[in-house]
Amino acid sequence: MIAPMVLGLSVFYLWPLFQTLYFSFTEWGPFGGHTWNGLDNYQRLVGDPEVRRAFLNTIWFTLLSLIGVPIAVVFAALLNHKGLRGVGFYRALFFLPVVTLPAAVAIVWRYLLNGDFGILNYLLSFVGINGPSWVGDSHFALYSLVVVGVWSSIGYNIVILLSGLQTISPELYEASALDGAGPVRQFFSITVPMLSPSIFFVTVLSVIGSLQMFDLVYVMVGRTSPALQSTQTVIFLFYERAFVDNDRGYAAAIVFVLLLLVLAMTLLQFRLQRRWVHYG
């Protein structure tokens, strides 16, 4: 019964993992074929300013994107409020970007954020701000991607957090209300600690997802943009090296370093969770 799956996963996943590891120690010729070159790729990678920039961009993007987690917590708490009508409707609005193709999201936001005739800069002009060309400007491009990334994943996080909120006993709120706690106090003293396992889960997923960011850079920024330097992520660089330049040995080494980064960041979060996550 497990034969089809064992076969499929071995051929397409397990064996390729070892192959990629092997490739990372090889050099690829321009006309196919590869030869063993030991640690050359890794040595080259350490001194490659483009690789360093891609990793720094990716880490910076990942850290900035974490702002989406507290925002999602606040909105999940608001949506969970008993007095609010039409919760399902609002939840659907927040969730809409999750089911929208990232390529479509990128196309629309590139237009909204256009420097010359984008609606955002038009709105900003009312408050006297002369907006930059966001995605085209290397100072603002990465921040623009963070905003779009948060917008498109917030609904996903809200749904997970909302289901976590259902498990919090209403008695806790009633008891604290009798003790005179207001909504804000309740949010910080009850909601956040009780929800911390879900918050932790959402944070871990958000970090893993952000570290693999590709679609938004590919469609919103693109290869020819001057802002690519400040937004190029590791996976974008990997794609370019592996499938545009056919420098697959080097690309394999790059993506293996990313794997180490993903594992390290995940491990770090599991270490840190002892300090702030409460399992009731």
Binding site: M1, P4, R91, L96, A104
Partner: protein, 299 residues
């Protein structure tokens, strides 16, 4: 004696009660939702605004789409922009490709993942734990670590620029096995034993008794695979460079490449490509939400 100061009289009037400090929290609880409603409505508008603007722009002329100050409503609703999407890219073919890829992956995963998930949950066989551990390790590794060898497999099979390249690797999923195993584990062992006593072999037990009971798990896996399959961009870009073999995600990226500033057509294309999933989500909203809430995983 009809004085309003009697306890009964004051109890009938709400106003004097408000001086009582105990009555404060309920009153605040009543006022608070208005603030909540306003905040949530405004943010909800921010969430849908890009979609509204996308729709309005898709019906404008190029001049209207780039005018400052912006034109909110198009002078004439130019549905012709949608036809131009079909002229720029083989949209109908790409839509069909996307549907076929999604159906293929979902059907394959439901079958293979449920078979394996059931076996891991209920059958004893040699090396079970070792194989399961290997499967789990796949879950931890970003998908990009597999794509170079996967590309080579597709190349050597002559499957580049075919739907097979997009469907076949997606038939298998360690996540799906793990997910469905959890659902099978939650079913009582007695059901299994009863089926055995009645003479079912493991395949029959799986198919007739257990599979119908893990329906929520199958729906969750189906929904997640659909979202992931519809939205996936990197793998299609790698294996299918022929526009007629691309899914919509890659097709949109190429549309953007050739019509960089033709915003009405770009918006029309982006909207057309997203609408099928938006409709599916609207119709099956409960299942979508439940799938994310119970599994919390992207494919």
């Amino acid at each position: 004696m009809a004085s309003s100061l009697t306890p009964v009289g004051s109890a009938l009037r709400p106003e004097p009660v408000s001086t009582n400090p105990v009555a404060q929290p309920p009153r605040r609880a009543h006022r608070f939702p208005i603030v909540v409603t306003v905040v949530v409505s405004v943010s909800g508008f921010v969430m849908v605004f890009p979609f509204l603007w996308e729709f309005l722009t898709s019906l404008k002329t190029l001049g209207e789409s780039t005018s400052v100050p912006p034109v909110i409503f198009p002078g004439v609703w130019r549905w012709h922009n949608y036809e131009r999407v079909f002229e720029a890219i083989p949209f109908a073919q790409q839509f069909l490709n996307t549907v076929l890829i999604t159906i293929g992956r979902v059907a394959g995963q439901l079958l293979f993942c449920s078979l394996a998930g059931y076996a891991f949950a209920r059958l004893m066989f040699r090396g079970r734990n070792l194989v399961f551990l290997l499967f789990l390790s796949i879950l931890m590794v970003p998908t990009q670590l597999y794509v170079i060898p996967q590309y080579q497999i597709m190349e050597s099979l002559g499957w580049l620029n075919s739907l097979k390249a997009l469907i076949v690797p997606g038939l298998f999923s360690a996540f799906g096995v793990f997910l469905l195993r959890q659902f099978f584990l939650a079913l009582p062992q007695e059901l299994e034993d009863a089926a055995r006593v009645d003479g079912c072999n493991p395949i029959q037990t799986y198919w007739y008794v257990m599979l119908p009971l893990v329906r929520p798990g199958l729906i969750a896996l189906g929904v997640l695979t659909t979202i992931w399959s519809w939205n996936d961009l990197l793998w299609p870009l790698i294996v299918n460079t022929d526009p007629n073999k691309m899914p919509l995600s890659a097709g949109l990226a190429s549309l953007q490449g050739q019509r960089l500033t033709d915003f009405p057509v770009l918006m029309a294309g982006a909207l057309l490509a997203s609408i099928p999933m938006i409709i599916l989500f609207t119709v099956m909203q409960r299942h979508f939400i439940a799938s994310i809430a119970t599994t919390g995983m992207k494919g």
